[in-house]
């Protein structure tokens, strides 16, 4: 660790379409990826590098998605990257003016990875609409660090950088609250988990994978199986 550590930290940006992900990406990296006010603007994942407190961060801007159910190519890209890419930190960019819908995605992301920071963006727009968001309570409810930003004016971006740094380096360990699915599903999960656990480092990921297995999501499992199960099926 410390100054001699040349290892790049990998940070992903996820969020609903048109929440200002690309604006935040540009603000952090100093790059000028084109931004626009319509959903679906980012069809390719953009990458950029920035430095903070002596560490190098690789920032990956994933296409905007409403969920991670993987019905569309964007959702699949985002989901696969979060699960297989093992990012050091993930920033969920949420639109403060319609927080509830944005929290759906945040909760889904938090099921895959615990190293999450929720960035409540467009806080200035929300204020204009007379909306007040209690950031401290939100952080407590979610179990992850939360920061309010107005990326277009730069408000809150320093704090965001601090949080990314702290989470990616392991100085803060977020502890996302687990979603309870009720007796019916939990019972089935308990039967699957022991079979998956040996192959997955994090308990959270095993649980997420088990849920997808129950849903019968074959595209994901195929990829996963190719990565982890093929080798030892020969013994």
């Amino acid at each position: 660790m410390g100054l001699n550590n040349p290892v790049q930290l990998c940070v992903t940006l996820v969020g609903n379409p048109n929440t200002g992900k690309s604006t935040i990406f540009n603000a952090l990296t100093g790059l000028r990826q084109h931004t626009g006010n319509w959903p679906g603007k980012t069809v390719l994942t953009a990458r950029g590098v920035y430095h903070y407190k002596g560490r190098e961060f690789l920032l990956i801007d994933l296409p905007g998605t409403y969920s991670l159910v993987a019905n569309s190519p964007e959702e699949r890209v985002a989901r696969d990257f979060l699960f297989f890419g093992h990012p050091d930190a993930t920033v969920v960019v949420a639109d403060a003016t319609c927080l509830e819908r944005n929290l759906n995605l945040a909760l889904q992301v938090m099921e895959i990875t615990s190293r999450v920071i929720v960035c409540v963006n467009l806080i200035d727009e929300a204020r204009k609409k007379n909306l007040n968001i209690n950031i401290a309570v939100l952080a407590r409810e979610l179990g992850v660090p939360v920061v309010a930003t107005a990326a277009r004016t730069g408000q809150g971006l320093d704090e965001l950088k601090d949080l990314i740094y702290a989470v990616a380096c392991g100085y803060i360990t977020p502890c996302p609250r687990e979603i309870g699915y009720g007796h019916y599903i939990e019972e089935r999960l308990q039967k699957l988990l022991p079979l998956i656990q040996p192959y997955v480092s994090e308990r959270r990921q095993a649980r997420w994978l088990a849920l997808r297995l129950l849903e019968g999501d074959e595209s994901l499992l195929e990829t996963w199986a190719n990565k982890h199960l093929r080798d030892d099926s020969y013994d």
């Binding site: 319509w38 679906g40 889904q108 007040n132 968001i133 277009r152 089935r188 699957l192 499992l221 030892d232």
Partner: protein
């Protein structure tokens, strides 16, 4: 049995074949949680809050006012571009062409051979000078205007308005968004088709993106509309030029809808899929930033690309125009060969040659054409727009020729970059060829018809 199969089997048993129900339970649990948290965290200040967004949307997307407003916006953007681009174009042209003689002199002075001077100055330099003076001003005005609309949040509303029409054509409104991107660059428009989920509709959008004039063709259209339909710059005539350009764009949209309809009834049969398009909140664009960014990021970038293609193309065309095979000038030979089919389309051999040689980039069609004309015994070298108009008339151009030229430019086929992009996006040789042949067929039919009718009226 492998472990993955074992897992599948167990999961299948646990699901009791009720996967949909399980999925629904899972999604519901997440939504309930999000709702609960949001309820604890978000509070609305008491006080007067008017939902401006909704009020504006009521007007902008209404059945009654939506379309006229869209047309009006389009017209205003074009008008601002046409009027605003004219003076800088004149000044740039005068400046750049004024440098041509000193450049030639410099070549003579250093004792460079005659052909080198010709190729470098009359070939490369002149083509580049044309591309810069014709393209730069309209782009520098159009791009910021368009980006302002984009940042404001208007584009999704336009797509929403168009959805009804696209539905009837068997596709969907998101195609409208990809067309908007096509205004900037068709290659970008084709890439933007990724936002369309249904493969069938995505393919239709890819194949028809060419019917939106990109920035390579847009300045050409504006230049010709200004020359032939707004002889001088009085206000009423600039409106006339605006009307011509707007009509052309509308025609492009009409053709898009018609071709989409035909495709969805024949090669790409299917029902239109529904889609969710969120109308984002209106946001005040950061005007200064938009102008700076769209000039430096887009305009300079696109211009740079055009120049890098125009420079070598200029050299090649100069060589064609100034060399002979078997006593026959090559460019002239090509033009003569193509003259007959071109006449049928209301064009002439040189115009068709220019379109064919302009395949790498549409920006260079007009410079190629001029070089072709000028190479056959120079009349006047156009130093400004007015001279250019006179030159074209001297070569037998009528308003019908100009209109057919504009139509052919609007419809013909995508540029080399876009064709390559279509191939990359569809990964299909067959569809790439369709992406070239369909527009070409449309262009031939439309130009042939317009020429036929135009001649009947004029005679």
């Amino acid at each position: 049995m492998t472990k993955i199969q074992e897992l599948y089997r167990l999961a299948g048993e646990l699901g009791d074949g009720r996967k949909e129900e399980l999925q629904e339970r899972i999604v519901k649990a997440i939504y309930r949680q999000a709702e609960a948290i949001s309820g604890r965290v978000v509070s609305r200040h008491p006080g007067w809050a008017c939902d401006w967004d909704r009020r504006i949307d009521d007007v902008v997307t209404s059945r009654l006012t939506g379309f006229p407003l869209m047309l009006l916006l389009l017209g205003v953007v074009f008008w601002v571009t046409i009027v605003g681009a004219n003076y800088p174009s004149e000044i740039l042209a005068a400046l750049l062409f004024g440098l041509e003689d000193p450049l030639s002199f410099l070549f003579d002075y250093t004792g460079a051979p005659q052909w080198l001077c010709g190729m470098a100055v009359q070939g490369v330099y002149r083509t580049v000078a044309w591309v810069v003076s014709v393209m730069l001003p309209p782009m520098a005005i159009f791009f910021p205007c368009f980006t302002l609309l984009e940042d404001l949040g208007y584009l999704p509303r336009a797509a929403f308005n168009l959805d009804g029409l696209f539905k009837r054509a068997g596709t969907q409104g998101k195609q409208g968004l990809t067309m908007c991107m096509g205004f900037g660059c068709n290659a970008a428009g084709v890439t933007a088709c990724r936002i369309i989920d249904s493969p069938r509709e995505r393919l239709i959008a890819i194949l028809t993106n060419n019917f939106v004039p990109c920035n390579g063709r847009f300045p050409t259209l504006i230049a010709l509309a200004t020359l032939f339909f707004a002889g001088s710059l009085s206000t009423s005539l600039s409106f006339m030029a605006t009307a011509v350009v707007t009509t052309l764009v509308l025609l492009g949209v009409t053709v898009t809808l018609l071709v989409s309809y035909l495709l969805s009834k024949t090669l790409l049969r299917g029902l239109p899929s529904s889609f969710v398009l969120e109308l984002p909140p209106y946001r005040m664009p950061q005007v200064g930033r938009v102008i700076v960014r769209s000039i430096f990021d887009r305009t300079i970038f696109v211009l740079g690309r055009a120049v890098t293609i125009a420079a070598p193309a200029g050299a090649v065309i100069w060589l064609l125009a100034n060399n002979s095979i078997g006593g026959q000038n090559i460019l002239k030979g090509m033009a003569n060969f193509l003259d007959l089919p071109a006449r049928f389309l209301g064009l002439d051999g040189y115009i068709l040659t220019a379109f064919i040689l302009g395949l790498p980039a549409n920006e260079i069609v007009l410079p190629i054409l001029l070089m072709g004309y000028l190479a056959q015994g120079t009349l006047v070298e156009p130093a400004n727009f007015q001279d250019l108009g006179n030159l074209l008339v001297a070569y037998g151009w009528t308003p019908v020729t100009a209109f057919c030229f504009m139509l052919f430019s609007l419809l013909h086929y995508p540029c080399g970059t876009t064709i390559w992009t279509i191939y990359k996006e569809t990964k299909s040789f067959k569809w790439t060829i369709a992406g070239v042949l369909i527009p070409l067929a449309v262009a031939v039919i439309v130009c042939g018809l317009v020429n036929f009718v135009g001649r009947l009226i004029l005679n």
